[in-house]
């Protein structure tokens, strides 16, 4: 508690807000009287807002680097893993692909309702180009991010430890099932198993392909609609791929990336906050964007390409477990 006379200062740092929020959620589980649904819901809103800003800052950073290195590093070339095209649902081929890099970037860039205003906040130095981005939902962008943490982490690719650390995705081993939580819905008394932050039954019902182990692959098949997987360390590759393949993208399989280079890149980012990052990333990947309803409401407001919706649904399957966990405890 604030001790009376302390000066009321606080830095609006998205990352610290995220860690504060996660700490609150975590400590609420041990509070007397059980989890307070209302408070946790409100904290999830803050978490969502902070994450939007955090991601948009990352993109801003990426954009700035891109400005400095317009040719891109050699590392940003094609991913080394062959896209598992066979596993991708055929309908993806027909999905409209934004030909416009700027547009894609804008969508991915946390330009959600909350994000756009946050971008204008003085704390976030965003290049003017991004500020002009249309104020649309970034759902595909960051839900892709959250979602990819699930299936993307399952394979040997063990990427973006920012999202994978703590989740124990396992390297080269079994796709999902390395960490498991059991949660109980207070009302229905339904017991649900969560694996790797991924609600088992939801996952399987919507995406049969990704539930099947894919031993031969360096990474599991992508979630339907995933154009590319986002990891903080991967931003540059994403940009590079966008440039190199304006329309093609890895829809059919966008695999993710070259693990070793990604790891190196990631370490650069996470050097400052190693401990926090892994905690944040772990729970971000589970928590996704907060309650799904937040997403669906936003989605209702904007025109989402089909792939975006498919992807978010997939990604947000993981949220169910978390909400249920909150309710259960």
């Amino acid at each position: 508690m604030l001790r009376g006379r302390r000066r009321m200062e606080c830095t609006l740092d998205a990352q610290s807000l995220i860690s504060i929020s996660l700490r609150k959620i975590h400590s609420s589980r041990t509070q007397r009287g059980g989890i307070k649904l209302h408070k946790n819901l409100l904290v999830s809103y803050v978490l969502r807002n902070a994450r939007q800003l955090y991601l948009s800052e990352r993109y801003a950073e990426l954009y700035r680097r891109q400005q400095h290195y317009p040719d891109g590093a050699p590392l940003l070339a094609m991913p080394t893993c062959p896209p598992p095209a066979a596993a991708a649902p055929p309908e993806l081929a027909a999905l409209p692909l934004p030909a416009d890099t700027q547009d894609r970037e804008a969508r991915s860039c946390g330009a959600a309702r909350g994000g756009a205003e946050l971008l204008e906040a003085p704390v976030c130095a965003v290049p003017p180009e991004l500020q002009r981005a249309p104020c649309r939902d970034s759902s595909p962008g960051f839900y892709r991010a959250a979602g990819s943490a699930g299936p993307g982490g399952g394979g040997g690719a063990a990427p973006g430890p920012l999202y994978a650390a703590g989740c124990d995705f396992g390297s080269g081993g079994a796709p999902h099932c390395s960490s498991r939580t059991t949660v109980l819905d207070l009302d229905t008394h339904v017991v649900t198993t969560v694996e790797n932050g991924y609600l088992h039954q939801d996952c399987c019902s919507q995406c049969p392909c990704c539930c099947q182990p894919a031993p031969g692959l360096a990474s599991p098949p992508p979630a339907p609609g995933t154009k590319r997987k986002y990891y903080p360390g991967q931003e540059e590759e994403e940009e590079g791929v966008e440039e190199g393949e304006p329309g093609g993208g890895g829809v059919a399989g966008g695999p993710p990336f070259a693990p070793c280079t990604k790891r190196a890149r990631f370490e650069e980012y996470s050097a400052e906050h190693p401990q926090d990052s892994s905690n944040i990333s772990n729970l971000i990947s589970i928590f996704g964007s907060g309650f799904t309803g937040l997403v669906s409401r936003q989605q209702a407001d904007s025109e989402q390409p089909l792939n975006g919706q498919l992807c978010s649904k997939q990604a947000l399957a993981s949220l169910g477990a978390w909400t249920r966990a909150i309710v259960a405890f």
């Binding site: 009376g4 009287g33 649904l37 207070l186 309650f291 947000l316 249920r324």
Partner: protein, 447 residues
């Protein structure tokens, strides 16, 4: 501020303070609810320890015509105990979330008190006579040896010291999965509602083994949860109408005649958000913490973190009046989030004539807004002004810039001292203001 009777400003005076003087507050003593009964003669408080304390106003003393009767302890009882739900491994706090009085029908008083899960109907009755002169029992209750009884007499009632007894007459349990935040007695005085985060149930005061669910906002998939119910109240006059507020800052008015399950509202009161005020914490500060109908039933008041809004039931798209309680906190939301103060649930209340509304703030300040004159005042509940009939000095918070004499700067506010619960006597200018563990009673200066 216009008084109830005339054009003069009310001058508020300290009257009494109840509770421990210690700075070290025992958690169980933290006051969690305050409520006057319908006549104003009784004032009930509930605390975190599950106790209810009722104060009774003294009859007016002819020799002390310049002040109204004092409130003295009338009854104290343990309403709720801590419980443990073994099935779900959850501890159930004994903290009293709300107390609501029933109107008096006979010599006894009745009130409803609730914790997170269970509502209880308490009967508070007086006993001032007792039977004496039993044949088979001694005065202390021990049984006499029948063989020693040689004469018979008829027991008679004799006066005794007043004893106030509280007994639980009904226990309404097992109807709420989530935490109960409100109870409200219907104007038919036979039914009442109880609301938790996701559902509202309708009870009959006589029937404890079942209740009707009238609102259920639980989504089929909890992943899709976006809002919870934060408060609910029956209309003071229309027995089929009630409102409930949400964490998203909306209020829904429902009519129970429309359907058995009132998931579809009859009216939706919502003010569009001001986009220039958007921040990380917009959702939190727009969550409504309290909703109260005016006595007339024409208006309702809502309290969110920074403001009080008055709504006309006939106009859904925006409130008719908005009062800023402590706008200077808007730039401090981040710190308030860190220390959890941003989650504080302030209540609000109307005066008897619906002309003034009151709500609490930090640093033991509370605020009153006069709807007619549009003037507002900030007062402090503090033992420093504790001479009876001392007029309270208005306080002022300096938001920024040069602090004038007697002003207090935002950074000096004590956020541990918060006034969440206040109550206004239904007829007189007497107010009860609860600080963390003390109850202050203020009256207007007479003469």
């Amino acid at each position: 501020m216009a008084g109830a009777g005339g054009g003069n400003d009310i001058q508020w005076c300290f009257s009494q303070v109840k509770g421990a003087v210690d700075d070290d507050v025992a958690e169980a003593d933290i006051i969690s609810t305050v409520e006057f009964n319908h006549s104003g003669e009784l004032l009930a408080t509930g605390d975190k320890g599950g106790r209810v304390v009722i104060f009774q106003q003294e009859q007016e003393n002819k020799t002390q015509s310049h002040s109204r009767g004092e409130y003295n302890v009338y009854s104290t009882f343990q309403s709720h105990e801590p419980e443990f739900d073994y099935l779900k491994s959850l501890e159930i706090e004994e903290k009293i979330n709300k107390i609501r009085w029933l109107p008096q029908k006979n010599a006894a008083q009745f009130l409803l008190s609730t914790n997170d899960k269970t509502i209880k109907l308490w009967k508070i009755s007086e006993r001032d006579k007792r039977p004496e002169g039993y044949n088979l029992k001694e005065e202390d209750g021990r049984y006499r040896d029948p063989t020693t009884v040689t004469t018979l007499r008829v027991p008679v009632f004799r006066p005794m010291d007043l004893m106030v007894e509280a007994s639980p007459r009904r226990i309404f349990a097992n109807a709420h999965t989530y935490h109960i935040n409100s109870i409200s007695i219907n104007s038919d005085y036979e039914t009442y509602l109880s609301a938790d985060d996701l559902r509202i149930n309708l009870w009959h005061l006589e029937i404890t083994d079942r209740s009707f669910n009238i609102v259920d906002i639980k989504p089929a998939n909890m992943e899709e949860l976006t809002e919870v119910i934060t408060a609910a109240e029956f209309h003071p006059n229309s027995c089929s109408t009630f409102v409930y507020s949400s964490s998203k800052g909306t209020i829904r008015l429902c009519d129970m005649r429309a359907s058995a399950l009132c998931d579809r509202h009859s009216k939706l009161f919502e003010e569009p958000e001001d986009p220039s005020n958007r921040s990380f914490f917009s959702e939190i500060i727009s969550s409504i913490s309290d909703v109260k109908f005016s006595h007339s039933g024409r208006y309702m008041m809502t309290r969110d973190y920074l403001s009080v809004k008055i709504w006309d039931l006939n106009m859904e798209n925006r409130p008719v009046e908005t009062y800023q309680v402590h706008e200077y906190l808007r730039s401090k939301l981040c710190s308030l989030y860190e220390n959890d103060c941003i989650f504080d649930k302030f209540e609000c209340c109307w005066n008897g004539s619906d002309s003034i509304v009151m709500t609490g703030s930090y640093n033991n300040f509370f605020r009153m807004f006069d709807r007619n004159t549009k003037r507002d005042i900030t007062l402090e509940a503090s033992r420093e002004n504790n001479k009876p009939r001392t007029v309270l000095k208005p306080r002022k918070v300096c938001a920024s810039g040069k602090r004038k004499k007697d002003e207090i700067s935002v950074d000096s506010l004590d956020f541990n001292k918060k006034i969440l619960h206040t109550a206004w006597h239904p007829k007189e200018n007497i107010i009860a203001v609860a600080t963390t563990n003390n109850l202050y009673i203020f009256q207007d200066k007479m003469n």
